[in-house]
């Protein structure tokens, strides 16, 4: 009995030691190198896909879907949300200020800079978070991160940045590097009863089918956001997509704009630096 319990204690201690020593230190993180490896993985896997085309998700992976999408883009389903967003953006708050007062360049053509690491707050700030902060600072109630209003606003802001390449910055701050690392870890971690990670679908199986859908590559996957999804019969934000992805693999979603999700968006946006914003988008 004594020997057995001692043995199990030793194994547990060893396991604990292995776990803690394997944790990466901030000095070993090289985001630029990682982004290059990430992009090379996809360009090598799909040599016939033009670099900018990765932002088109499943349409860069399947010719038939692409044809249908190109036809619909002449009269895109996100048009209504885009117009609503433009109107919302221009409408002043009760105190007379507007969204333009909260953003650089009046909020026009800035979407490609989000998310950024706020060194004062010590956290990743996404576009959705910044918009609600703007509302609250001006005495307005925050919008739900997963409903139409936020989707319409981000649709308009994305539209003003169409064609501009993602330009996410990671300042030389260990907290920013940690956020990048945490986002990366979230991306590759299996979760939910179905035991999928984001990578299971978007790194291991882009272009393949999951039930009736064609999977998009992880490279450029946020560039078309927010999207009008036929599945939703409506517009959805990045928050909506992250939370629904979680529940689809039977994982209880975290609160929208939780630290994990913001770090994930930071990581995915950074490794897609150089790819053009194509939002708002349309997806099956």
């Amino acid at each position: 009995m004594r020997v057995r319990s001692a043995l199990s204690f030793v194994t547990a201690a060893l396991a604990l030691a292995a776990l803690s020593s394997a944790a990466p230190g901030a000095d070993t993180v090289d985001p630029a190198h990682e982004a290059k490896a990430f992009q090379d993985f996809f360009t090598k896997k799909f040599p016939k896909v033009k670099f900018e085309d990765f932002v088109n998700g499943p349409y860069s992976m399947n010719e038939d879907m692409r044809k249908q999408w190109e036809e619909k883009e002449q009269f895109p389903p996100y048009e209504f949300a885009l117009e609503a967003g433009k109107e919302m953006f221009a409408t002043p708050f009760k105190n007379g200020k507007t969204y333009a007062d909260c953003f650089a360049n009046g909020g026009i053509g800035v979407r490609q800079n989000y998310p950024y690491f706020d060194e004062k707050e010590g956290k990743v700030v996404t576009l959705e978070l910044a918009l609600n902060k703007c509302r609250e600072v001006n005495g307005e109630a925050a919008f739900s991160y997963v409903k139409e209003e936020m989707a319409s606003l981000t649709a308009y802001m994305a539209y003003t940045s169409r064609g501009k390449p993602f330009d996410i910055k990671i300042p030389n701050d260990p907290r920013a590097l940690e956020a990048f690392e945490k986002g990366k870890e979230y991306f590759y971690t299996r979760r939910g009863q179905l035991n999928f990670s984001c990578a299971s679908c978007h790194v291991q199986n882009p272009g393949e089918r999951i039930r009736a859908e064609i999977l998009a590559p992880a490279l450029g996957i946020l560039n078309a956001m927010p999207i009008y999804r036929s599945e939703w019969s409506g517009m959805g934000t990045i928050s909506r997509r992250f939370t629904t992805c979680n529940s689809q693999i039977r994982g209880v979603p975290l609160e929208p704009q939780s630290e994990e999700y913001r770090d994930l968006e930071y990581y995915l946006s950074y490794v897609s630096n150089g790819l053009p914003i194509s939002g708002p988008g349309a997806r099956p």
């Binding site: 394997a22 490896a37 939910g192 009863q193 299971s200």
Partner: protein
């Protein structure tokens, strides 16, 4: 009836009763049993919550357990609670092992 026959019949009846008794559960679950099983499942699910890795199916089993208990069906309630505990523990195992295993999928 002869004594021998009477004894044989008694043996058969005894055997029959034993078979019926064996087929029944040891005893029906009580509300106390349910409360204990639910507490264990709930505690495991809270641990999974701290690890930020709960499963929707665990939540569904917990809800089913509560519903069955409310209807007075403590056998089912205990079963669902035990299932929830197993699922919660599996999700804890997943979260713990993934702390290292995620690197297997990483693009380098």
């Amino acid at each position: 009836m002869s004594d021998r026959r009477r004894l044989a019949m008694k043996k058969i009846m005894f055997a029959a009763i034993m078979v019926v008794a064996a087929a029944m559960p040891a005893r029906a679950a009580s509300e106390a049993d349910f409360k204990a099983a639910f507490a264990a499942a709930d505690s495991a699910e809270k641990d999974a919550g701290r690890l930020r890795n709960q499963w929707t199916t665990t939540e569904a089993a917990l809800t089913a357990a509560k519903k069955a208990a409310e209807a007075g069906n403590f056998d089912q309630a205990v079963k669902s609670a035990q299932e929830a505990e197993a699922l919660a523990k599996a999700s804890i195992f997943q979260a713990t092992s993934e702390k290292e295993r995620w690197k297997d999928l990483e693009i380098r």
